[in-house]
């Protein structure tokens, strides 16, 4: 039987009608938020990563009904109202950290939550933080470079521009 779940999605309140067995991943994709990718659906690959109340989570491991009253941020929510990309997104483009793109939204959301806690990381810390996100194209090096570059940009800007929260 379907039930309503109310939460904040990328800064806006939403109500979705879902079955208890519907994961947040499936509910969001059904709703049209297709940046969360359905990869392994068993918590291994990280392509469905988003941020719930400041913590990066794999959305295939979250039941949609669990986010009642919480704030959910996906990569769509990082884009500024005027369309400007977030420094993390911009750095991924500039550093060639994207090939097929399937892992990219998850990588960016993991990096986003990580940089909020640790704005001036070492590359070793970035590698550790991204250990739960698999990429089969890039060999990771451009991704690490992009995160380090975005961290520097964000420190210079002194804020998280374009973020919904």
């Amino acid at each position: 039987m379907k039930r309503d779940v109310n939460f904040i999605l990328n800064g806006r309140p939403v109500t979705l009608s879902v079955e208890p067995r519907t994961t947040l991943l499936r509910a969001l994709r059904e709703y049209g938020v297709t940046s969360v990718k359905r990869g392994c659906e068993e918590g291994e690959c990280g392509t469905c990563t988003l941020v719930i109340d400041d913590l990066a989570q794999k959305s295939c491991m979250v039941l949609a009904l669990e986010v009642e009253g919480k704030s959910v941020l996906t990569v769509e929510g990082l884009v500024a109202p005027n369309g400007d990309l977030h420094p993390l997104q911009q750095a991924f483009v500039e550093e060639g950290a994207i090939q097929c793109g399937f892992c990219t939204p998850g990588m960016i959301m993991t990096a986003y939550a990580f940089l909020r806690k640790n704005p001036d990381p070492t590359e070793a810390e970035v590698r550790e933080a991204l250990a739960g996100n698999l990429c089969r194209c890039t060999g990771y090096i451009p991704i690490f470079r992009a995160v380090m570059k975005a961290a520097k940009t964000m420190r210079e800007l002194g804020s998280h521009p374009g973020a919904a929260r």
Binding site: P20, R21, T23, E42, G46, Q57, L63, G132
Partner: protein, 294 residues
């Protein structure tokens, strides 16, 4: 595969959670973080009609530390919360090592320490740490409160000694006596997102009769196993030499009973139990005699 349909209950207090579990009996399963049970439900390996979600029960949250009593870990405390807890980092080295070796940094935001132990999978990373600290499980159920010694808690693969309707509220890991040092070494094929082929937890304590050691193993027996004979061999020795380490390592291998599976063979696991015992004991002995206390 999709999960089969089920009803979700989200009780707001412990009494309602126990009531809910009692009402549905064996048709219900508990969910804490969900990172284990949701995977199993996806595979249709378990098919509960009702899932009782504990994540909104306030009595189950939190981590508290009192030097005379130890660290008390609420059932909903996540692996990352415990792994980064200041007092755990100072006094519970094997617990913190185990937390940080578990899955990956994202899953650790959801998975719970107590859930990992309750799931009772032989390779569960937190299990050897709970063994060496001789944890006490605080349980609440239809018959009220009771404590279960960790040595009696896990009865086999995916089996624990909870009675129907009981919930683990929290677990206390008593403070190691005197100066102590501890570590957990996990052998896997990669650093993240892997199950242990062998896990070894070692705790060394400075007692009145010299050093005292506790050794526990994961992924090499159906139930958690302490290497009592190896512990006796090492007792009293602050800096065990090669010969003593070898004797202890052989005794440890004799205490475990690994299987051959997709992750490793029995012979390899036995050989690694020996090697990792030497390493874990050496690390702890060095830390115990040095200035560092973890």
């Amino acid at each position: 595969m999709s999960m089969l349909a089920f009803e979700l209950e989200r009780p707001r207090d412990l009494a309602s959670a126990v009531e809910s579990l009692g009402r549905h009996g064996s048709r219900a399963m508990l969910k804490a973080g969900g990172t284990d049970v949701i995977v199993w439900m996806h595979k249709h390996a378990v098919q509960p009609e009702v899932l009782v979600d504990l994540s909104e029960v306030p009595e189950l949250g939190g981590i508290s530390f009192y030097p005379h009593r130890g660290i008390k870990i609420g059932a909903m405390a996540t692996v990352n919360q415990v792994g980064t807890h200041e007092d755990a980092r100072v006094h519970y080295g094997a617990l913190v090592d185990a937390c940080l070796s578990h899955s990956d940094p994202l899953i650790r935001n959801k998975a719970t320490v107590v859930g990992n132990v309750c799931a009772a999978v032989p390779s569960g990373d937190l299990i050897p740490a709970f063994s060496v600290y001789e944890a006490v499980m605080h349980v609440y159920g239809p018959g009220g409160e009771r404590d279960i010694a960790f040595a009696d808690f896990i009865t086999g693969p995916r089996k624990n000694s909870l009675a129907p309707g009981e919930i683990v509220v929290s677990a206390t890991l008593p403070m190691p006596s005197g100066r102590s040092a501890a570590c957990y070494i996990k052998l896997g094929r990669r650093n993240a997102l892997d199950l242990a082929q062998v896990g070894v937890a070692c705790l060394a304590m400075q007692g009145s009769k010299g050093a005292e050691y506790r050794l526990a193993y994961g992924a090499v027996s159906p139930r958690p196993v302490r290497a009592a004979e190896a512990e006796d061999i090492l007792a009293g020795s602050e800096s065990p030499d090669e010969a003593l380490l070898d004797r202890a390592a052989k005794a440890a291998a004799a205490a475990v009973n690994p299987i051959t599976d997709v992750r490793a063979g029995r012979e390899y696991r036995l050989s690694m139990v020996e090697e990792l015992t030497r390493r874990a004991v050496s690390i702890c002995a060095e830390r115990l005699t040095g200035r560092e206390s973890r």
